[in-house]
Amino acid sequence: MNKTEKKNTPVVEARFSPASLLRKIIGSVSKAHKTYGLEWWIMIAGIVIVLFMLYMAFFPQTIAPFSALDQDTGPQLSAPDKTHIFGTDNLKRDVFSRVVFGSRTILGVAFSAALLSSIIGIPLGLFSGYFGGALDRILSLIMDSIYSFPGLILAIAFAAMLGPGVINITLAVSVIYIPTYFRLVRGQVLTLKEELYVEAAHSIGAPNIIILIKYIFPNVIATVVVVFSLNIADAIMTEAALSYIGLGLPAGIPDWGMDIAIGKSFLPSGVWWMITFPGLAIILLALGFTMLGEGLAEILNPRLLEK
């Protein structure tokens, strides 16, 4: 191969058009579906749900007919009908609009919580697992203790300590997931550390930090991605649960868990719509992330979920 040809190659790649890109995506999509079968469709369904919810969270006003806080949208406590497809609550707010706007809250909290716990948990796990020693033992003991304890109960304690508020609840939720990432990453590092390619890296004289970054971390990341997605689903459930028991957000922010808690007192009067729809929304959102995570898991690493 001569030099001119070599130089040409990147130019060809850089000359892309939307059409070619689209063709490429469609190509890989159709190929992937053939390779992965049902798992692929599960993941696609998950992605569709998640994207839809993201759209809802970012542009709620394009979907919701009213504002979430508008207290004059119609009659009080009216069952679902044409104008209020999910009915109205006792403050004459539109339940549908509240569900739509509520997605923003829960997604924001769940995503930031998962992000925060991974940002803390992953490096801790990496270093603890790789370097071992006394610090590793202490950290593992702490993380294992927290992990084996019912997370929600700890989250309750933290949420009660921090008091209501978006940031506080995010912190409370994220605390309980740090061990998840720590244990996952540490466990992976422990096995990866024994892999031949890590030994090979030692044999070529690579410094520890390079080995950690170049050889170990990239191999952890795939599982982390999967767990991140599943973790968001979990964080969604936890956030909703905390709001449900009244430790979530103060009034004024539409929030599914809290709406269910409020609707609860209207349940014996047969007001089903105030609890049903926020609940379905939680299920759908959590399901989206679970399916996304599961699909990813099967595609990236079929052994992961079995553990």
Partner: protein, 338 residues
């Protein structure tokens, strides 16, 4: 047997650091929390002097580190202390509420397994059929249902609309509570008293909450059983057994399910923790007078010793269950010996 005993003791000793860590976390969390038991307890009119005296009496004026070590010292003597807001020993309400939570979680676990394992095994056997797909979908959805929402829906359908089942409490108001002073496990108490009507009443009250827990948690087990079954059915010894002419039924259930059950057992301990968390929410939804409700109430009241006591009990429960799971494990798997 000796090995077993040693193992059990070892395991129990190993839970000490876990309880210690959890307690430390909770201890600190509680002290950092705004509000203290004295202000939660006293009326708005209480003079400053009384507040100060009260704090002095409860030892709240000491430095946190001293309070911490005093508490640890107390624990080392197996003493959970006294409630700070109510004049009672911490163990009193726990003794009262623990049976309620255990009754709920055990039945929850029962329904979880009774629903999850057979469905999962069936789906694995009918792999890639419509039924398999349906069961998988059920598993995924069940996993994502908030347990309290499930509870509310059950209440709505069976309590409000159909009026078939009671939706709250452990008994009807008319059943005298003096019946339940024996063990605190109402099912057992009513049987001991020979009061079948009360037994029926208790069972009916238990049904919705434990079924709710069972359904929601069965999702995990459906997925787990299915995945494990598939894995086991792929393994060499299954093929080898088939090659020896062992019948399909034996292959799938004697070899397949038993082997698949081992990883499920491992998960059982962890799932129990989730079940406990679920129980807290279920207790709230079904007005179940258990540990979860106690915890919530006492957190609001800033009753430090009781909250800590409840956490200790939860931690012990988790440990006991995982010990039991391990022992069960040894019973099922000859490779594990203690």
């Amino acid at each position: 047997m000796k090995g077993l005993l040693r193992y059990a003791i070892t395991r129990i000793l190993l839970t000490i650091p876990m309880i210690f860590i959890l307690l430390t976390v909770v201890f600190l969390v509680l002290r950092v929390m705004p509000g203290d038991p004295v202000s939660a307890m006293l009326g708005a009119h209480a003079p400053e002097r009384v507040i100060e005296e009260k704090k002095e009496e409860l030892g709240l004026n000491k430095p946190i580190i001293i309070q911490y070590f005093e508490y640890l010292g107390q624990l080392a003597r197996f003493d959970l202390g006294e409630s700070m807001v109510l004049k009672q020993k911490v163990t009193d309400p726990i003794k009262e509420k623990l049976p309620a939570t255990i009754e709920l979680t055990l039945w929850g676990m029962f329904f979880t397994l009774a629903i999850g394992v057979p469905l999962g095994a069936y789906a694995a056997n009918k792999r890639r059929t419509g039924r398999d797909f349906g069961i998988r979908l059920y598993g995924n959805v069940a996993y994502c249902i908030p347990v309290y929402w499930m509870g509310l829906m059950m209440q709505l359908v069976f309590g409000v609309w159909l009026k078939w089942l009671p939706i709250a409490g452990r008994t009807s108001p008319r059943i005298m509570s003096s019946l339940f002073s024996n063990t605190g496990f109402y099912l057992i108490d009513t049987l001991l008293a020979g009061n079948l009507r009360a037994f029926g009443d208790v069972a009916v009250h238990l049904l919705l909450p434990s079924l709710t827990l069972g359904i929601v948690l069965s999702g995990v087990f459906v997925r787990l059983t299915r995945a494990n079954m598939l894995d086991v059915l792929k393994s060499d010894f299954i093929l080898a057994a088939r090659a020896r002419g062992v019948s399909e039924k034996l292959v799938v259930y004697k070899h397949g399910l038993k082997n698949a059950f081992i990883p499920i057992l491992t998960m059982l301990g962890l799932q129990f923790a989730i079940l406990l968390a679920g129980a807290v929410l279920t207790e709230t939804t079904f007005s179940w007078p258990g540990m979860g409700r106690l915890l919530m109430e006492r957190i609001y009241l800033r009753d430090y010793p009781t909250v800590q006591g409840v956490i200790v009990v939860f931690a012990i429960m988790v440990s006991v269950i995982s010990l039991l799971v391990d022992l069960l494990y040894a019973a099922v798997d000859p490779r594990v010996k203690y």
